[in-house]
């Protein structure tokens, strides 16, 4: 049967029609080889637009389809489905992108129209040579890997577990809980962070469907959607988790010091035991301690052994080693969270040099009732500050560091003001650029703070110094800032300054992203499948994201995204099977001479050499269709389906002809 191509030109309202002469394009397309009909429509993606194509296929008028409209990344799936519904193999369809890469980016109508013609001719010529491909389905392993045990990972794991699905939760720290476990109160409702988080942590620890691997890191991920092979390194705790009952005798007696016990109040800031054998905080899940080998006396000189002596259950084992555990899952949720910006490089803020300049996370710990200050706000020398400045946007909204807004700082800064007022009623200054109080109850919280005698100064802090100019500044930290509402540079002497350090991508995120084959944006965070319509999926099927690994987020948004990710996983698991890439590579055994050039090219190890036949073979279940092997094959024995040489050659000829 000869090729009869239908070309459908979309106006996209005026998005395309405003810049591309549709009539001219239609006339042009009519003249192309193998094109039997050309239609234009306001919105091809609308129901009536889709029906046009479906009907033409059903009426037998066409057996191949070209839609000239937006980007294939936008609607390829839509139109492929139309083909399928009409009874046409979806791979006999091509999209010509005359919007994102044509009408939206060029000005001159004549040249934009010419380009649209070229793109359409390329699509038509390629479509003539396209071949139907069979869809392939693979079963989905119903078990899910959640990487990261902060609030995002906890929520996602619990949602899945509650639905009766097995989850492996991997956390690199000794306990789950993440950043949230370090907070005292949460904005804007001022719930006690521990009160709302701890029950969830306990549920995770006890849930029959959750296998918790704390103090563990994902080492390798192979496979593909529905069938990932995961290798996790269970770091050694030197404590046998099966024997330990978390009694605490070991850390009570341990003479080692992980967190300095000398120094000023700020240097000693911590939550949880400061000993070498420790749990990170008292509500830790699991409540099984870890020995910090770097500071443990036993590991330094072999002379200690107190923890083993005091342990009634003989759970301490100094010879324990890392374990590699391999298992299979069907889906992965990345929930690795964030790290806070280190303000040391901003020299003019004096962090690390000036006593009483703190980061936000240090201030959180100071406020935490179970922390080293017992929740009391103290200066380095232990006295109570009379005045505190809160500097916004440190490392965020700053071209030198992170251009983005960290989204949580304004609100936690307001929370600090409230806590300060409540606890010590000190004088508080908020130095802000803009106050961004966008969430539910946030603006109201700001409003409340305005009534709590907090001084708001609109301006970016220029410098924090201890060099006084006036008498009143002596022995104080002086914040120099342009108060943009007054139009004056002010110097404000204060006792303590809190830097609202922004959120940034965790340093391990790039590695995790690499293991999962998902991309990282220039901000360092994972790129979601679609910024609006695919916020929890990624470009790799079966890999989802939750929380601050995607972008800075507050707790409500993180929990919402975590639940969305688990629901996406559930919908996939419920289908039991999933379609995988049909456009894979395949080897023509009659042509392959077994030169083995392709053998090392496949990142997924999908190419193996068949010794018996003397040819290389592609395992299509592992192949993701990148086509690198086809490009490297010296004898043209490997074809990249749907991106074959002849198809791309036709596209080149077409794109240059008009």
């Amino acid at each position: 049967m000869s090729e009869r191509i239908g070309v459908y030109v979309c106006h996209c309202g005026t998005n395309i029609a405003g810049r591309v002469d549709i009539d001219e394009v239609v006339e042009f397309a009519k003249g192309l080889d193998a094109v039997t009909l050309v239609r234009e429509y306001k919105f091809m993606c609308s129901d009536p637009g889709q029906s046009l194509i479906q009907k033409d296929i059903e009426d037998g008028l066409i057996n191949r389809v070209v839609v000239a409209s937006c980007s294939p990344l936008m609607h390829e799936k839509t139109f492929r489905n139309v083909c399928t519904r009409g009874g046409l193999n979806e791979y006999l369809f091509t999209m010509a992108n005359i919007r994102e890469q044509c009408s939206w980016v060029h000005v001159d109508v004549e040249r934009t129209t010419d380009k649209a013609k070229g793109l359409i001719e390329a699509a038509v010529r390629r479509t003539r040579l396209q071949e139907p491909l069979t869809k392939r389905e693979v079963p989905i392993n119903p078990r899910t890997l959640v990487i990261g045990g902060g609030i995002a990972g906890i929520q996602a794991a619990l949602d899945l577990a509650e639905a009766g699905k097995k989850v492996v939760l991997v956390e690199k720290e000794p306990s789950i809980g993440g950043h949230m476990a370090k907070f005292d109160k949460t904005f804007p409702t001022l719930d006690c962070s521990a009160c709302i988080l701890t029950p969830k942590m306990v549920s995770v620890g006890q849930h029959e469907n959750i296998e918790l691997m704390s103090w563990s890191e994902v080492e390798d991920i192979g496979g593909y959607v529905g069938n990932f092979n995961v290798t996790v390194r269970k770091k050694t705790r030197y404590v046998d988790a099966d024997l330990c009952n978390g009694c605490g005798a070991c850390w009570e007696k341990c003479p080692g010091t992980r967190v300095p016990r000398k120094g000023n109040v700020h240097e000693k800031l911590s939550i949880g035991p400061t000993t070498s054998i420790y749990i990170p905080f008292m509500q830790a899940v699991p409540a099984i301690p870890v020995i910090d080998a770097d500071t443990c006396i036993r590991f330094k000189n072999g002379k200690c052994g107190i923890c083993a002596e005091v342990c009634e259950r003989n759970a301490i084992n100094y010879d324990m080693e890392d374990e590699l555990i391999e298992f299979e899952v069907g889906s992965i949720i990345i929930a690795t969270g964030f790290q806070t910006f280190d303000p040391t490089p901003i020299k003019r803020y004096g962090y690390g040099k000036l006593d009483n300049v703190l980061t936000a996370i240090e201030f959180e710990i100071m406020n935490c009732a179970s922390g080293s200050t017992g929740g009391n706000i103290r200066m380095a020398d232990g006295s109570e500050p009379k005045s505190i400045g809160i500097v916004h946007c440190v490392g965020s909204r700053d071209k030198h560091y992170h251009e983005y807004c960290s989204r949580v700082c304004c609100m936690y800064a307001l929370k600090y003001s409230h806590l300060i007022k409540e606890k010590i009623d000190a004088e508080v200054y908020e130095f802000y650029i803009d106050l961004r109080c966008f969430g539910k109850g946030y603006e109201e919280f700001y409003d409340r703070l305005l009534g709590e005698d907090v001084r708001f100064v609109r301006g970016k802090v220029a410098e924090i110094t201890e060099v006084p100019i006036e008498e009143a500044e002596k022995g104080k930290l002086v914040v120099e800032v342009e108060d943009t509402l007054v139009g004056k540079v002010r110097r404000i002497p204060l006792d303590m300054v809190v830097l609202c350090t922004g959120l940034e991508a965790h340093e391990s995120l790039a590695d995790i992203a690499g293991l999962c084959s998902v991309s990282i944006g220039k901000d360092g965070f994972i790129i979601e499948k679609h910024p609006k319509l695919g916020p929890v999926a990624t470009t790799t099927d079966g890999v989802f994201i939750a929380g601050a690994c995607q972008s800075p987020k507050d707790i409500p948004d993180t929990v919402a995204q975590a639940s969305a990710a688990s629901s996406a996983v559930l919908s996939m698991i419920t289908r039991e099977k999933i379609e995988i890439e049909s456009a894979t590579a395949s080897v023509d055994e009659d042509k392959c001479s077994g030169c083995k050039i392709c053998n090392s090219l496949c990142p997924y190890l999908a190419i193996k050499y068949d010794e018996e036949k003397g040819v290389s073979v592609v395992n299509e279940a592992l192949c993701k269709g990148c086509g690198t092997c086809a490009a490297g094959c010296p004898s043209n024995a490997i074809s990249a389906k749907h991106f074959e040489d002849r198809q791309i050659f036709a596209e080149i000829e077409g794109i240059l002809s008009a």
């Binding site: 294939p72 890469q101 380009k115 793109l119 470009t539 456009a583 040489d645 080149i652 794109i655």
Partner: protein, 161 residues
């Protein structure tokens, strides 16, 4: 009339094509001289495609893939880089300025950068002038005829120009 170069782009689906789309979504204007072909990975791009594009009339070819380390398929872009480095070494022997073939890394978030690269590259090629491989081939062969040919009858196949 100023010379308007024809540029063929080979863009990887995940980073560069997405980045080019982003330029569209953000309505960043750039020269219409580029016409792009989408491949899944820059690792799919064969030097043969580039030669073919040059032969078919492209004055310049832009290859774009994910930044090193960011390849959706892990390492395809390194293969693209190596092929590019080797291809660049031979182009001048064909009388093709190596600058006519350009490799760039464009991330999915770099719509603006994509637009800038296209504009810059277009200007650069405009400066170099038309490549005109087919015209040049015809020119090089125009005297490759038998001086007596005119007297004789034509045989089966004519010269391919």
């Amino acid at each position: 009339m100023t010379f308007e170069p024809k540029i063929v782009g080979f863009l990887c689906n995940w980073c560069s094509y997405t980045g080019a789309d982003l330029a569209g979504t953000a309505r960043i204007k750039y020269a219409p001289n580029i016409r792009s072909i989408r491949v899944m990975c820059s690792g799919r791009i064969e030097p043969t495609f580039i030669m073919k594009a040059l032969y078919e009339g492209a004055d310049g070819v832009l290859i774009a893939g994910c930044h090193p380390g960011d390849c959706h398929y892990q390492e395809g872009n390194y293969k693209a880089l190596r092929r590019h480095r080797l291809l660049k070494r031979i182009l001048h022997e064909y009388g093709v300025e190596p600058e006519r073939v350009r490799l760039e890394w464009v991330a999915a978030s770099e719509g603006e950068r994509f637009a800038k690269i296209v504009d810059e590259f277009t200007d650069q090629i405009r400066e170099l002038g038309p490549l005109g491989i087919k015209d040049s081939l015809a020119e090089a062969m125009k005297d490759d005829i038998d001086p007596h040919e005119a007297d004789k009858e034509e045989s089966g196949v004519a010269n391919e120009a």
